[in-house]
Amino acid sequence: MLELRNLSKHFGGVRAVEELSLTIGQGEIFGLIGPNGSGKSTTVNLICGVFPTTSGAVVFEGRDLTDAPSHRVVAAGIGRTFQNIRLFGDLTVWQNLWVAQNSVKERETGWLTRWLGGERRGRDYAEELLKFAGLSDRSGELARNLAFGEQRRLEMARALAARPKLLLLDEPAAGMNAEEIRQLATRIRALREHGMTILLVEHVMELVMGVTDRIAVLNFGQKIAEGEPAEIRQDPAVRTAYLGTADA
C-alpha cells in the first residue's frame, strides 16, 4: 500500500534518513521504532510532504507522492497526527473535525454547500468520530481547553475526519499513563477492524509490541532491522542499538 524507496533526507551535513526502504501492506499495523533522533519523525514528515526529500521516492497505492504538497497527500488518503499535539486551539472540538473533512466523499457534494453551508453538514460522520474519541459531550469546547489526553484523542479523530486509508501516528502514547495507553491500543485495533492501515511511530515498547504486525527499527537514519515483534525482540543489532538501553 505504502512503499518507501531508498528515501533519504539530509539537513546540511546531517543524514536524518538514509536510503530507507519500507513496504506497508493493506490493513497492516506497522511499527517504526528507534532511539531519539533516529529519523522516525523525519520519515513521517517526508511522507506527508512537510519538507522535500533529498532522494528516493514515496509511492502510495501505486501513485508517486514524492514531494507532493501536504494537502495532496491527504487527498490521496494519508492522515497523520503530530508528536507534539497541533490542534487548532481557538476552534471548537467540533470545528477541528469540520475543517478536516476534505475527503473525496465530501468533495462529491456540491462545493457551495460544502464550503458555505452551516455546521450541520457532515454531522453524522463527525458525531461518530466524536464518539470514537470519547469527546461527544465536549464538541462545543475550545480545543485549547481540553485535557492532555483529550487533545490526543481529538487529534486522532481529526486525522480520521478526512477519511484516510493510511494513518500515520507520530508517538501517540507520549505522556500517557498505562490506562490511557491500554485504551489507545484498543482504539488502534478498532481502527484496523474498520480496514484502516496504520503506521505507528512510537517510543513506548509496550504499545508497539502489543499491537503491531510488523516492526522496522531505525538507528541514525538507517533501517537496522525489520520483522515481526517477536523477531525484533530477539534481534542482536536492535538490542545493542536500542533495546539494550530501553526497557523492553
Binding site: 497541533r86 476552534l91 473533512q101
Partner: protein
C-alpha cells in the same frame, strides 16, 4: 443631521477598510498592503465615473474586481514569507502602489477643465454624488448598504466551513496542511476577498471626499486598516465595526472637544486599550454572547 450622516459615511468606509484587513488577518497574515488596494479602488473608481462617465455601482464593482486581481497576484509571493517579513513585504507593496499613483498622470478635457489624476497634484472633483443630487443621507445609506452586505457576507462566511478553515490556517499552517487544506488556495483567496472589499471601500472613499491624492494612502492608512480588526478582536466582524466607531467616532470625533488633549489621548488610549483588552474590544466571549442573543446555536 448632516453631520451624523457624514460620520456614518466615514465610519462605513473605514469599516470596509477594516473588514478587508480582517479577512486576511484570519489566515494569520498581517497585511500592510490594504491601503494600496484601497488606493487602487479609489483611483480606478474615480476614473470610471469621472472619465468614463459610468454609474457609481458598476464603477465600484469594476474597481473592486481590479483591486481583487492585484491582491490575488500579491498573494502568491506573500505565501513565501511570514510574520515580520510579511508585514514589511506588504508594507513595501502598499508604498509602491502609492508611489505608482504619485507618478501617474491621465487627464482628459471635460468642458473647459482638465479632469483626471495628475500625479502629485492629486485627482480632484470626483463629484458624482453632489452632481447627481444625492443628499448626504442618500450617500450614507448607499455606503451602509455595501457595508452591511459585506458584513453579512463575512459573518456568514465566519460561521461556515470557510471561516473555520481560514482560522485553522491562521493558527497552525502545518497542521492545516496535514488535514488536507490547500494553503496556497486559502491564503490567496483571503487576499483576493480582502482586495475586493478594500477596492469597494476605496471607490466610495474617492467619491465622498471628492479629491484624492497619493499622500492619503500612506503607511498611516495601512496601519489603521489592520488596527481596526486587531483592536476589535479577531473573533467577529462586529469587532471591526466597534473598533472603527472607537477610533473614528470616539477618539477622533467625540474627543474633539478636548482640543489639544485629543491627539495626546489618541495614542495613549490605543496603548491602554491593548493593555486592558489584549484580545480586542470585542473578544471571543462577547461574540459567543452575541450569538446566543441572536438565537444562534452555540456549537
Amino acid at each position: 443631521m448632516d453631520f451624523y450622516y457624514g460620520m456614518a459615511q466615514l465610519i462605513g468606509v473605514h469599516t470596509l477598510l477594516g473588514l478587508s484587513a480582517y479577512v486576511v488577518l484570519l489566515t494569520g497574515q498581517v497585511s500592510m498592503a490594504q491601503a494600496g488596494f484601497f488606493a487602487i479602488g479609489a483611483y480606478l473608481g474615480g476614473m470610471l465615473t469621472v472619465l468614463a462617465g459610468l454609474h457609481i455601482v458598476p464603477a465600484m464593482l469594476l474597481a473592486a474586481v481590479a483591486s481583487a486581481l492585484v491582491a490575488t497576484v500579491v498573494g502568491f509571493p506573500a505565501l513565501r514569507v511570514k510574520g515580520l517579513m510579511l508585514v514589511v513585504a506588504t508594507l513595501a507593496f502598499g508604498e509602491a502602489v502609492r508611489i505608482f499613483w504619485f507618478n501617474f498622470d491621465y487627464q482628459i478635457a471635460k468642458g473647459n477643465i482638465q479632469v483626471g489624476p495628475l500625479g502629485g497634484e492629486g485627482f480632484k472633483q470626483i463629484r458624482y454624488f453632489p452632481e447627481n443630487g444625492w443628499s448626504t443621507a442618500d450617500v450614507a445609506i448607499f455606503i451602509w448598504a455595501w457595508v452591511i452586505a459585506a458584513m453579512v457576507a463575512l459573518w456568514w462566511m465566519d460561521r461556515s466551513r470557510v471561516g473555520s478553515v481560514l482560522r485553522a490556517v491562521g493558527e497552525d499552517e502545518l497542521a492545516a496542511q496535514s488535514v488536507g487544506i490547500n494553503l496556497t488556495a486559502v491564503k490567496v483567496s483571503a487576499m483576493g476577498i480582502g482586495g475586493f472589499i478594500a477596492g469597494l471601500g476605496g471607490a466610495i472613499y474617492a467619491h465622498y471626499t471628492t479629491h484624492i491624492e497619493h499622500l492619503n494612502f500612506g503607511v498611516v492608512l495601512a496601519t489603521f486598516a489592520i488596527a481596526y480588526p486587531i483592536l476589535g478582536g479577531l473573533s467577529s466582524v462586529i469587532g471591526v465595526l466597534l473598533a472603527v466607531i472607537f477610533i473614528q467616532g470616539f477618539l477622533v470625533e467625540v474627543l474633539r472637544f478636548m482640543g489639544d488633549w485629543r491627539n495626546l489621548l489618541f495614542g495613549a488610549l490605543i496603548v491602554l486599550a491593548m493593555n486592558v483588552r489584549p484580545d480586542g474590544l470585542f473578544d471571543a466571549r462577547a461574540t459567543r454572547a452575541l450569538k446566543r442573543l441572536l438565537g444562534g446555536r452555540d456549537a
